[in-house]
């Protein structure tokens, strides 16, 4: 049975399973459409949020499936802001080095691309360490 999602108007709380990534992307899409963002901008923000949540599941929660992730969206007439919070171990994605794809593939390793993509797709990425977890703020400017 599927766990029930808690969806408020601009806030989505879900369990830390990759099974929910598509619902998170849909949530971003609905909110992006509400403020009239282009399909391309929405696609970029959705991917950045997917990458952020994937990182949290893998690194902050070590793939434990029953932890909580909260995604909150705040919009103004010039910025689309996504605030992602978790209660996992401290994990600062800014500390992940920029990936060397050629070297990684020689070593047959596939990871380490998420943060790099997030930074490429968004205008600002901020990390705050919290007492009980992490807060990541993704900002896209528009208009």
């Amino acid at each position: 049975m599927k766990p029930k999602l808690n969806i408020l108007k601009n806030e989505l709380t879900f369990k830390s399973s990759t099974d929910h990534l598509h619902e998170v992307r849909n949530f971003v899409e609905i909110n992006g459409n509400k403020v009239g963002l282009s399909d391309k901008t929405i696609a970029h923000i959705s991917l950045a949020v997917d990458e952020a949540c994937t990182n949290i599941i893998k690194h902050a929660y070590n793939n434990l499936l029953d932890k909580k992730i909260k995604v909150k969206i705040e919009t103004s007439n010039s910025q689309f802001i996504v605030i992602i919070t978790d209660n996992g171990k401290h994990f600062d994605p800014n500390k992940i080095p920029e990936p060397n794809i050629e070297k990684n593939q020689k070593m047959k390793k596939g990871g380490g691309l998420g943060m790099f993509l997030m930074k490429k797709l968004m205008d600002e990425v901020h990390y705050n360490s919290k007492v009980n977890g992490n807060e990541l703020i993704l900002i896209k400017n528009y208009n």
Binding site: T18, E102, Q105, G114, L121
Partner: protein, 114 residues
């Protein structure tokens, strides 16, 4: 559940993998399985046809990074064809076009294995 499907076909000694739908951290293991099956069968020449893939995240891109060297060590490769513009743009952002061959049409990718 995200909508994703992977299947494979054969054209001569080239293996064609069709990916459909949404390739993210949840569905990437299905693509890994497909590559593992090919390696077990000692099949190293691969064309991935993206014509019906709508979305890819870094978890999907990572699968190709993890497997391409194995294929190349055995005189094979992973080549890509029929990508939608949105999907190609993500490969492009990460610099994949320098390290992989991309083709508009599957048949052109197959020919390159000639």
């Amino acid at each position: 559940m995200a909508d994703f499907n992977v299947s494979s076909r054969v054209d001569g000694d080239v293996n064609l993998i069709d990916v459909k739908g949404y390739l993210d951290a949840h569905t990437a293991p299905e693509l890994e399985n497909e590559f593992n099956k090919l390696i077990e069968k000692k099949q190293f020449k691969v064309v991935v046809n993206f014509s019906e893939l709508n979305y890819i995240s870094s978890a999907g891109l990572g699968v190709f990074m993890a497997y391409v060297e194995t294929m190349r060590e055995q005189s094979g490769d992973i080549k890509f064809s029929n990508l939608k513009d949105d999907v190609y743009s993500i490969f492009d952002l990460l610099g994949f076009p320098v390290l992989y061959e991309f083709y508009k049409e599957e048949k052109d990718a197959i020919k390159k294995f000639g």
